[in-house]
């Protein structure tokens, strides 16, 4: 049995010389749901972009049992469902169907299977009716759900989300939280939404200035108000 995510001593510096990650190590086991929190610029997004080799730093990285190296990138990307913060970036095709079908078509799956995958993925996010809609015309909450469907159609092992509840109204946020609660996948979610963290994620990782400064049970870390304040976070009421 492999770990879902295994990061060992990962460091990364942007080409302009700005250091973004500093000796980060993290292990996430299958079906674990982990929240990644920290102030803006802490390195959360940079870390996430390493999980499927879009950024490459120094250190060891295994995802879904595969070392993240050049030869494996195709397989790694099929196993990591990465949902970017802005669904505008995630949804680059004109219709919902085209977008959800992109991953399966790219993998070379036969037409019937592509259609099954699309149907299945849309059913999971409760958007079955939207298959022929134009992505451009959807509301923010709908776009977020479709964005998640675009990676579910690849049947990933790990789901990585960047700020899933940003820009959502309370109702859309609630239905997204319920959706994430029911998905039986390994999850690493970068977020500022501390209420959601408390509700959804038993484990919490705090990053600041490119380092992991705390990693533990959400319950106990949330009680440590000194720690939260020191890293620009707030305890939810």
């Amino acid at each position: 049995m492999h770990h879902s995510i295994e990061i060992n001593d990962l460091s990364f510096t942007y080409p302009d010389g700005h250091p973004a990650l500093h000796n980060v190590s993290l292990i996430i086991t299958p079906c674990e749901k982990v929240a990644l929190v920290g102030p803006n610029g802490a390195g959360k997004s940079t870390l996430i972009l390493h999980l499927n080799g879009i950024l490459v730093g120094q250190g060891n990285l295994r995802v879904a049992g595969l070392p993240v190296i050049k030869e494996n990138l195709g397989k790694v990307r099929a196993r990591v469902g990465m949902v970017f913060q802005s669904p505008e970036d995630q949804l680059f095709s004109p219709t919902v169907f085209d977008d959800v079908a992109f991953g399966p078509i790219y993998q070379g799956l036969p037409q019937e299977e592509v259609e099954d995958r699309v149907k299945e993925a849309l059913a999971v996010v409760n958007m079955d009716e939207y298959v022929h809609r134009i992505s451009h015309h959807l509301s923010m909450g709908e776009k977020k759900r479709i964005a998640i469907a675009t990676v579910l159609s690849m049947k990933p092992e790990v789901l990585v989300l960047d700020e899933p509840t940003a820009d959502l109204d309370p109702r859309a946020r609630r239905s997204l939280i319920n959706l994430l609660k029911d998905l039986p996948l390994t999850m690493l979610v970068s977020t500022h939404d501390m209420l959601m963290v408390r509700e959804l994620f038993p484990r919490m990782v705090i990053m600041d200035e490119g380092c992991i400064v705390a990693d533990g049970l959400t319950e106990s870390l949330m009680e440590d108000e000194g720690l939260l304040t020191a890293h620009g976070l707030e305890k939810p009421n």
Partner: protein, 268 residues
């Protein structure tokens, strides 16, 4: 993560960097004008122009290699001038056939082509030094100083500002596509899809980028209006040009005019 490679400016503290942007802009324009008006075949003048721009490159501390590498861009323009080799009537140097076509190279044609090549190569170097040693806002100030319509300058400014935003957006789109370009564990599948499908996806991405740029321009316009924009571009008054700066401009222009007259007298 942002796209920076589009901005040609390279910071530095050389003499050329410190010059008033208006001097640089006016002299660069004058230099390019003289280079393009110099008659065909005035080789000594080309050498003089080249040595002038070479000295400026050395003074600018940008590195001559850096400028020369970028100046390869001139080859694109030169391609357009390729037909003159064959279409100018004069003494024939060489004739050759390609299939049913016969090409004739004439002496005047070749001279004209080499002249065009050298002129565009020298001119583009001047433009590169200007763009690499002057931050864009200062260039805009120089444009205003020589009375380029303010609206046009404002459009240049907006283009420069949002080019990066657009490039960032394109980068994020491509990243999202990359993240879903995976290989299945099932054996025997060929990843990547068909060429037509991929071309279609790319085309639609370009289309959505265009739509977004269009919508963004609307939002920007609304944001401008809500801060009082009334279709009239206003700008802070220009700082006064120092006496020595005016002297440099006049001296530089005189030198260029002299070069041009010299070239026209002997070679036109």
């Amino acid at each position: 993560m942002h796209v920076h490679f589009l901005d040609p400016y390279r910071s530095g503290n050389s003499l050329v960097h410190r010059l008033d942007p208006r001097i640089k802009f006016i002299l660069t324009l004058g230099f390019i004008l003289v280079a393009s008006l110099t008659p065909v075949g005035a080789w000594p003048v080309y050498i003089l122009l080249f040595s002038i721009i070479l000295s400026v490159e050395v003074l600018s501390e940008l590195g001559v290699r850096y400028v020369l590498k970028r100046s390869m861009l001139a080859f694109l323009f030169v391609l357009a001038a390729l037909p003159v080799i064959f279409t100018t009537a004069d003494r024939i140097i060489l004739t050759f056939s390609l299939g049913t076509w016969t090409f004739t190279i004439t002496q005047a044609g070749l001279e004209r082509f080499i002249s065009i090549f050298l002129k565009s190569w020298i001119s583009i170097q001047a433009a590169i030094v200007l763009a690499s040693s002057t931050p864009f806002p200062e260039l805009m100030m120089a444009m205003r100083a020589i009375r380029i319509p303010r609206l046009l300058v404002a459009i240049f400014g907006l283009m420069w500002r949002y080019l990066f935003v657009l490039a960032d957006e394109a980068l994020r789109l491509m990243r999202a596509r990359l993240a879903r370009s995976g290989h299945s564990d099932q054996v025997g599948l060929k990843p990547g899809g068909s060429v037509w499908w991929r071309a279609g996806v790319t085309g639609r991405m370009a289309g959505s980028l265009f739509l977004r740029a269009f919508e963004r321009s609307d939002r920007i316009y609304m944001a401008m209006i809500s801060r009082g924009y009334d279709r009239e571009v206003r700008a802070a008054p220009l700082p006064k040009l120092r006496g020595v700066d005016s002297l440099i401009i006049v001296g530089g222009l005189l030198l260029l005019v002299f070069l041009l007259l010299f070239a026209i007298l002997f070679w036109a």
